[in-house]
């Protein structure tokens, strides 16, 4: 009996003219999004490789470790083909310098705001918006439509338990809608191989999990439609109700949650943050100026009344020590500025994380948000991408700065040695960095992109996966209870 009902559902869906049209549009959208995503990915890989080569080349050609700047780039991930997430909003590069903060800048959307207007139509967007509507379009009248046609009465005049009838409807609709959609998805996956997208084993596993969670999200909307269809008598009413629910779940709740979190947790603006940093640096510089004035006064206080030669000899004798003293104080100031900036950045980041955490908790009342969050998590394009890269870049800046410091010390010593040689041999001093030989940067630390392991990605995804499962089970259980009590007349 169950198989007969499932078969009928499959036939009813596949023979419906609206299925052919809708399936065609959805398939085209999925394939186009994957194809364009692959093209976009290849373009960004080319851009990334060119930019990193240019940086490597300029570092290799540098003639001094002083004033040496480095720039690191964020490596594009193949998963962004399916889940662009925030990868186009987050900057693609950061300067690495002991004098500047790590700051990801030049995002794709900041460079091409046109794309930011309508955003990138990726696989996740299609599932989240288009396929959820597709599920509603085919199941909004699953029960009340049968009632309107008189077929519910006719079917239930046979010895069929209502629970079995409903479950068969659910399974039939699910199979009838999911299996055909797997075809363009699998063709999209084939495109990855044909167009040489370098997917790792972990990437494939993440992609399989993404497809799985997409199907679960799609299943939720089928169960929801069954529920609403079992609670209403007319299909026109269930369609309107589902449309309103869809707007709430897909458009309003996620945005509302973000706005509510913004109101509940205040985060200083970037401008406020920058002005605080500038103020602190200016104060520190003023302190140094005052210290130097005082220091110079003290250094020559013992020489009052001394001749110019004595003063000159005193200066020459103490110059290195004083220079060192000045450098130490300057370094100390730089350290305190860096520490202050780090703390400020940390506070800002913590406030942002708190706001983000609250927004995510509130938005998870919508299965649409739960799906988006888990998809972005699986794709590695969630909001933590910025933190992951910035953490890695901070760590890299430490090692790069310490490398530079060592190399600059060596270079300074070499300058002194050369200066002494030229003084004794009468040779001309050649200023470093002004046309000399390139310095050896072969032992310079290299930036390594942060990689999220499969288990690190799957663990947080389980929360949203679990939530989506709970939403689906609740919707189906609700539909079951409503249908058992449904007035078929």
């Amino acid at each position: 009996m169950f198989t007969i009902l499932v078969e009928k559902e499959l036939k009813a869906i596949l023979q419906s003219p609206k299925f052919v049209a809708t399936f065609g549009v959805c398939s085209l959208l999925i394939l186009l999004s994957v194809f364009i995503g692959i093209q976009e990915y290849h373009a960004s890989v080319d851009q990334y490789e060119t930019a990193t080569q240019l940086v490597d080349q300029s570092l290799a050609e540098a003639t001094s470790f002083f004033a040496m700047d480095n720039t690191v780039y964020r490596k594009p991930s193949p998963m962004q083909i399916f889940v662009s997430g925030v990868s186009f909003d987050v900057g693609r590069l950061s300067k690495i310098s002991s004098r500047e903060d790590v700051k990801l800048e030049q995002s794709l959307y900041s460079e091409s705001p046109l794309f930011a207007v309508f955003r990138f139509v990726d696989f996740t967007f299609i599932v989240q918006v288009v396929l959820s509507l597709f599920a509603i379009l085919f199941t909004f009248d699953a029960i009340n439509g049968e009632r309107e046609r008189g077929t519910l009465k006719l079917a239930l005049s046979n010895a069929i338990p209502r629970g079995q009838y409903l479950f068969a409807k659910f399974v039939g609709s699910w199979l009838g809608l999911t299996i055909p959609l797997l075809i363009p998805i699998l063709i999209g996956v084939l495109l990855l191989m044909v167009l040489n997208v370098p997917m790792t084993g972990d990437d494939w596993a993440k992609l399989v999990a993404l497809i799985g969670v997409s199907i679960l999200y799609f299943t939720f909307f089928i169960a929801l439609s069954l529920l609403v269809s079992s609670l209403t008598k007319r299909s026109s009413v269930s369609f309107l109700v589902l449309l309103v629910v869809w707007i709430m779940l897909v458009l309003i709740v996620p945005r509302g949650a973000t706005m509510a979190a913004g109101q509940l947790v205040s985060v200083p603006t970037v401008a406020e943050n920058e002005s605080q940093k500038d103020r602190f640096r200016t104060d520190q510089q003023q302190l140094i100026r005052e210290w130097r004035q005082e220091a110079w006064k003290n250094r020559f206080s013992a020489l009052e009344g001394a001749s110019r030669e004595e003063r000159r000899a005193y200066y020459d004798a103490n110059k290195d020590e004083w220079d060192q003293e000045d450098r130490d104080v300057r370094e100390e100031m730089e350290l305190s500025v860096t520490e202050f900036n780090r703390k400020l950045n940390e506070d800002l980041r913590n406030a942002k994380l708190e706001q983000e955490r609250l927004a995510f908790i509130l938005s998870r009342f919508s299965p649409s948000s739960a799906y988006q969050l888990t998809a972005m998590n699986l794709g590695g394009t969630n909001t933590s991408i910025k933190k992951r890269y910035e953490d890695q870049m901070f760590a890299y800046r430490e090692s790069f700065s310490s490398y530079l410091k060592t190399k600059q010390e060596e270079e300074r010593a070499e300058r002194r040695r050369q200066a002494r040689q030229s003084a004794s041999g009468g040779r001309m001093i050649m200023f470093l960095g002004s046309g000399g030989e390139a310095v050896d940067t072969s032992d310079m630390p290299k930036f390594v992109d942060p990689v999220e392991s499969l288990s690190a990605v799957l663990k947080p995804s389980m929360i949203d996966f679990g939530l989506l499962s709970v939403f689906t089970v609740l919707a189906f259980a609700g539909a079951f209870v409503a249908f058992i009590r449904y007035d078929v007349r």
Binding site: M1, K8, Q15, P17, G150, L154, S157, N158, A159
Partner: protein, 272 residues
Amino acid sequence: MEESNRMEEGTSAARNEAPLLEADGLTKVYEDGTLGLNKVSFTVHPGEIYAMLGGNGAGKTTTINLFLNFIEPTEGEARVDGIVTHKEPLKAKERLAFVSENVMLYPNFTAIQNLDFFAKLGGKKDYSKDDYRDVLMRVGLEEVAHSRRLKGYSKGMRQKCGIAIAILKDAPAILLDEPTAGLDPKAGREFIKLLEDLRSEQKAILMSTHDIFRAKDVADTIGIMNLGELVMQRSAEELRGEDLEKLYVQYMAGYMEKTPESVPHEEEPAIS
């Protein structure tokens, strides 16, 4: 005259057997207090056609819904082959076929696909396409229409498909809710012939209808219902020579004068 005698013999022979359909003090009061049915009792034996006549809201469809357990009785019982429908609904439904008024069926399926689905649902899995074609021909649906999708069908053609579905189930009892609605006069006559055939196959048929003339032509027993009560029940034999239309109007009018507007009820019943 000969045919009439044969019918009477058949009917009296049938009445010796246990009834297949029994309404025993069936009462239905809806949640809002509306009286649907008030202590309705009748029986339909194998080989008997029982026609329920009455206006809109008389309780004809409510009676059929109680036999199908689409609603539960407030009092009394509906029994199919001795099985109480609200206690063992699935078992009772195995013995019932049903033709509803204005059934649309599945518009994207052909007549044969519709028949195939409902026949299988009724537990008949061995029918071939030829069997479906035969039964469609029997209900008067032209062969050219058998493989067409139902969305192009007229109301009458869909009704014929509904009747074919009931025939295919081959159940001992058949419930017909306004089966002639939408049928043209020719199709109506064919339908009467079909009912006579089913009676000769010893089916117990309960039919609700507005159509007094067809009811008189084919029914062995006629019940007139008004405001949820069975106000008259007579056999075809008793009605011979009577003007049923006049009788119907008189009963309706007379009953309306003496019947109270509602029947008090003690507690709100649960609606299934």
